[in-house]
Structures are given as structure tokens and as C-alpha cells.
């Protein structure tokens, strides 16, 4: 009886648009996730999001509600010399190839987030960071140069090769 009263009362009450919108958002994100392994462009969009290499800040920003915990195989390596020295033959690849390590998500976190920023940038010298994300055979690689801005002024981030090293394998 009470439940009947509840139902009839609720039917007369205003439509719950908040409930519908929240459900629609969950469905939209789930659709995006389902499309990720099926459509390479979707996975590529997320990889560029992880590399802070989306075509614009707005393109990157609208993706923020999409959970990304431990998504994709994200690797990074930190170098104290630019890769151009290897390309020019001034240094052997062995001399500038440190260890690649995996990061859980957003591999750029190794130089933007918390203690990672301290570990990578405390020297006050230029640092180069290579970042690579792979998912089901698709790989995107980015290179970042972090140069000191001057004493006490922190660093300036330069994208050495933001898009042109993207590849599918």
C-alpha cells in the first residue's frame, strides 16, 4: 500500500533529469571504453591525451571524466642528453640509452606530478623525456625537452616531436 502511494506520488513529482543525465554520462563513457579496442582512432585519442599532445587543450579537457586507471602500456625514459647527438653520430646510442620503465597512466606524470617532478628536475639542468604508449599493437611516442628557465624560475617544456612519431604497428 505504502509503495503504491510512493509510486503515485513520485509519478506526480518532477522528472528526475539529473538521474537521466548521470546515467547517460555513464553510458557514454562505457561506449567510449567499448570503442577503445575496436577503433584505433579512439585508442589514439586517449594516447594523445596521456601524452598531453591532444590537438588543443579543449580536446584534451573534455576527456577528463573518462577514467584511465592503469590503462595502456605506458613507458618512459629520462635522458640527460638530446637524441640529436646520437642522430648526428656524436654519441653512441649506448651512451644515452637509459632504462625504460613503465608508468600506470599519464606517463608524463613522471615530470609533472609530485615527487616525480622533484626527482627529474631537481638538478636544474636540461632533461629529455621519451614517452611511449602502446595498446593492442598501436603505439605513439613523444619526446619532451625540459630546459631551465633561469635561477629559481623552474623549467620550460618543449615538445620535440609531438605528433610525427606516431605510428601503428
Amino acid at each position: 500500500m505504502d509503495s503504491d502511494v510512493d509510486r503515485s506520488d513520485d509519478q506526480q513529482r518532477s522528472a528526475d533529469w539529473g538521474y537521466r543525465i548521470l546515467l547517460a554520462l555513464v553510458v557514454a563513457v562505457s561506449m567510449w571504453m567499448i570503442a577503445t579496442p575496436l577503433i584505433p582512432k579512439v585508442a589514439g585519442t586517449t594516447m594523445r591525451r596521456f601524452h598531453l599532445n591532444s590537438s588543443s587543450f579543449l580536446t584534451w579537457a573534455w576527456q577528463f571524466p573518462i577514467p584511465a586507471m592503469y590503462n595502456f602500456a605506458n613507458r618512459y625514459q629520462i635522458r640527460r642528453v638530446p637524441s640529436s647527438l646520437v642522430a648526428d653520430g656524436l654519441l653512441s646510442e649506448f651512451a644515452v640509452t637509459p632504462t625504460w620503465r613503465y608508468a600506470n597512466h599519464f606517463p608524463t606524470r613522471v615530470f609533472t606530478f609530485g615527487d616525480g617532478r622533484y626527482k627529474v628536475l631537481r638538478s636544474g639542468q636540461s632533461v629529455w623525456v621519451d614517452v611511449e604508449s602502446s595498446y593492442r599493437g598501436q603505439t605513439i611516442r613523444s619526446e619532451f625537452e625540459l630546459s631551465p628557465n633561469g635561477a629559481g624560475q623552474g623549467y620550460r617544456l618543449i615538445r620535440v616531436a609531438p605528433e610525427d612519431r606516431s605510428e601503428s604497428r
Binding site: D6, D10, G18, T36, A68, Y70, R101, Q153
Partner: protein
């Protein structure tokens, strides 16, 4: 005439709301030491990056927003006035949205889970007084498990790749040198080859658990879903990284709403 003593009815929505706010505060404050030291790094070592608008590069922006969110949540916890609850919840949602876009905090999953939880919290207080208590608690519990299912599913899909299935990624992140009770214990007891095998099993277990829970949690009966979801989230933190209680805290808070659903009489 015989009288039957009945327990005083509790305001279930008030408790659901308070527990959800407590979950948000757990997420915010659990790793406060980390956040405090990180804030110092952001002030001492700023990174100029044209990709982010200046507002989203400033360390002081992130610090001010973080402190504001803590204050809004504390006031919201004690607030009973619906209009104030809506205003405080809206402010919290805006603040967390900004942190999700800030250079210093974009990558922290804590703010992603908090964003979904605070959106849920805003909807809850908005409907307070419009829906009956029974209907609102039922809808809140359903939405909470739908959100948690979606988050687990997203975690699973991102791991459906050979590097995770082989255990390579989690071996490097966790088993090689992570200072955590489980991984330290494994390193002490097993050879390198055995550890690599254990990492593969561990990784596959994570993928299967997240996939099954992501696909199925939302359609379980209310109380079973709430309990199962809470057990899974707590297990993830206990078995991989205690700091993940920061990511999970707000989700635990909204999942608890399932325990407040009673059978319609």
C-alpha cells in the same frame, strides 16, 4: 490494548549524504602528506607549458582549490539545509573539475573518482525533498553501483593488451622495486623467474576481476552489490598500494548507500 515499541526511524538520506561526504574527505585527506610535499614541489619547480592555460599551471591555483574543496566538504558534512547542500556540492564539483584539468593534478585518479562521486552527491541533495526517501535511496544505490561498475570496466578495457596480459607492466611497476608489503615479501621468498610468473598470474587476476565486476556489478541485488563493490575496492588497495585508499575512499562512500536500501513493505 497492546502497543508495539518500534525503533525510531532514521533519516536515511542524511546518513547516505554524510557517508558520501566522509568518503570525499577520506579521498582528499588520506594522502595529505603527499599532497603537502607535492605542493611544495609545484611552487619551487614550476613548469611553463603552453599546452595548459596559465590558470591551470599555477601551483597556487591548485593549492587554493584543494583547500577550498576540503572546507566545502567539511561544511557540507554538517549542513542540513537542502539549498546550502546544493550550493556546497556544486562548489565541490566545480573545484574537482578544475583539479582534473590542472597541470599538477590531471593524472591523479583520486580526482577522477571524486568527480563522479561529487556529481552523484550533487544529484542526491538536489532530489532530497522531491523524491520519497525510499525511492531516492534506491536510485542512489543503483547510480552508485553503475558508476563503480563503469570505473572498474574502464580499468579493465585499458588492460586488454598483451603487455598487461603477459604481466610485463605490473611486473615492472610493482614487483621489481615497489616498497609494499606484498611485493617486498614476494621478492624475499622467490627467484626472479618465479616472481615473473607470479606477476603474470597477478596481472591476469586483476584483468579478469575488473572485467567481471565492471560488466556485472551494477546488475547485482542492491546490498550484495554494495558489499561486493566495497570488498573489491578495499582489496585493490590492500593488495597493490595503500595510497589507493585515496582513489577508492569516495567510491566506498557512495557504494555504502546500498546498505540503506530496505525492502518495500
Amino acid at each position: 490494548v497492546a502497543t508495539v515499541a518500534t525503533a525510531p526511524a532514521i533519516d536515511r538520506i542524511r546518513w547516505v549524504h554524510r557517508i558520501a561526504i566522509a568518503g570525499l574527505l577520506l579521498s582528499l585527506l588520506y594522502k595529505h602528506r603527499f599532497f603537502r610535499s607535492a605542493a611544495r614541489m609545484y611552487v619551487e619547480i614550476p613548469i611553463a607549458d603552453d599546452f595548459f592555460p596559465v590558470f591551470f599551471q599555477s601551483a597556487y591555483t591548485a593549492i587554493a582549490i584543494f583547500i577550498s574543496i576540503v572546507i566545502l566538504c567539511v561544511i557540507n558534512f554538517f549542513m542540513d539545509n537542502r539549498r546550502w547542500q546544493i550550493a556546497l556540492s556544486f562548489g565541490t564539483l566545480i573545484g574537482i573539475s578544475l583539479l582534473c584539468l590542472h597541470q599538477a593534478t590531471y593524472n591523479d585518479a583520486t580526482f577522477t573518482t571524486m568527480w563522479w562521486s561529487s556529481l552523484w552527491g550533487l544529484w542526491l541533495v538536489w532530489r532530497r525533498g522531491i523524491d520519497s526517501e525510499q525511492v531516492l535511496v534506491e536510485k542512489a544505490a543503483f547510480l552508485s553501483r553503475v558508476i563503480v561498475s563503469m570505473i572498474l570496466f574502464a580499468g579493465a578495457v585499458g588492460k586488454w593488451t598483451s603487455e598487461y596480459w603477459s604481466g610485463e607492466v605490473l611486473h615492472d611497476i610493482y614487483f621489481v622495486d615497489r616498497n609494499f608489503w606484498l611485493f617486498s615479501e614476494v621478492r624475499q621468498r622467490f627467484t626472479a623467474d618465479a616472481i615473473r610468473e607470479i606477476a603474470t598470474t597477478y596481472s591476469r587476476f586483476v584483468i579478469v576481476t575488473e572485467t567481471v565486476a565492471g560488466v556485472g556489478l551494477w546488475c547485482l541485488p542492491t546490498r550484495i552489490a554494495a558489499t561486493t563493490g566495497i570488498v573489491i575496492l578495499v582489496s585493490i588497495a590492500l593488495m597493490s598500494n595503500f595510497l589507493l585508499f585515496s582513489v577508492m575512499g569516495c567510491l566506498l562512500g557512495i557504494l555504502a548507500s546500498g546498505w540503506f536500501v530496505t525492502r518495500r513493505s
